[in-house]
Symmetry: C2
Subunit: 189 residues, 2 copies
């Protein structure tokens, strides 16, 4: 695993996702695994930390998440724009997307879904059973059970991308167009 990956205390895990970056959802069940892109992910609670993420009904990821009750939200960087869009535009049913896109992984600590190397944030999640939500809205609510961040851009309490432009998180606008997490601004009060 990356030598700059450090644990994030669970009380701060929501801060990894607070600015609305696009995520890669990794999943695993038995000997099957998958990765897809998800722009529709956000924190929904602080203690214990919970996130919401939309996973469409007919996807391979949905099949693996339904079977395992687990997933990881990985935060890709601007260096990963191409692969983020590519894994969001193909299905793992057609072949292993990690191999096809040369995505290296390492083991998570609490779930079987892998952590994707090259990302800068990782939230290991367990699905909270809400069958109506999944059925009606493809929406999954998960508890974050472990979190990690790259210390080159995570200072222990917030993101700071100023010194590592290539490690900025990304935000999907539409059809392969993204914006990077940009200039840092501070409210005066």
């Amino acid at each position: 695993m990356s030598s700059t990956r450090a644990a994030v205390e669970l009380s701060r895990a929501y801060l990894l996702l607070n600015h609305g970056p696009t995520t890669l959802v990794s999943s695993a069940h038995g000997d099957r695994r998958n990765v897809m892109a998800a722009a529709w992910a956000m924190p929904i609670d602080l203690r214990p930390p919970k996130i919401g993420v939309v996973i469409a009904q007919d996807t391979y990821t949905r099949e693996l998440v339904d079977a395992s009750g687990e997933l990881v939200l990985n935060l890709p960087t601007r260096s990963m724009v191409d692969v983020t869009y590519a894994v969001g535009s193909s299905s793992g049913r057609d072949g292993d997307k990690f191999a096809a896109h040369h995505l290296a992984t390492s083991a998570a600590s609490k779930v079987k879904a892998p952590l994707i190397e090259g990302c800068v944030g990782w939230l290991e999640c367990r699905v909270i059973a809400e069958p109506h939500l999944a059925q009606a809205y493809d929406l999954f609510i998960c508890e974050v059970v472990a979190a990690w961040a790259d210390t080159r851009v995570w200072n222990g309490r917030t993101w700071d991308f100023e010194k590592h432009d290539e490690l900025r998180t990304i935000h999907h606008l539409a059809k392969g167009e993204f914006v990077a997490s940009g200039e840092r601004l501070k409210a005066s009060k």
Copy 2:
């Protein structure tokens, strides 16, 4: 109302929010109105367009949204960082926040909650009754019934902030620190 505000067709309304910007939630019921900041808002469906937003249980906004079943998600700009943080750090029960922060408004088309001037995107929303979600997670699912964007930065199909730095949307990191929606990136495939 702003002369650069144009209607966004409902099939594209989710694109206003796809990149994960922080929002201002405006609400109204009877002669009462309020505004709060919400970083935890995202699209959850395309047709009809739906969004999810977290509104904490003890807030004045929650009281007005529960009473009216309506809200507007307004997208503030980098020029509005101070006011975004300020309205997220005070309660409308202590006095009208629009007046206190000199926020001008105009009438929405389908809901009574106002549109906030100076913002660049507006989603008029009606709450879909999901009492369990509100109770357990403070999470509201809403249908978007009308949407608007500022044509200086919305080209009809996506955001383009390159020519108007001051109109970039913003993303809350933590405690009054934000990043602007940054450099535009395009996936190669």
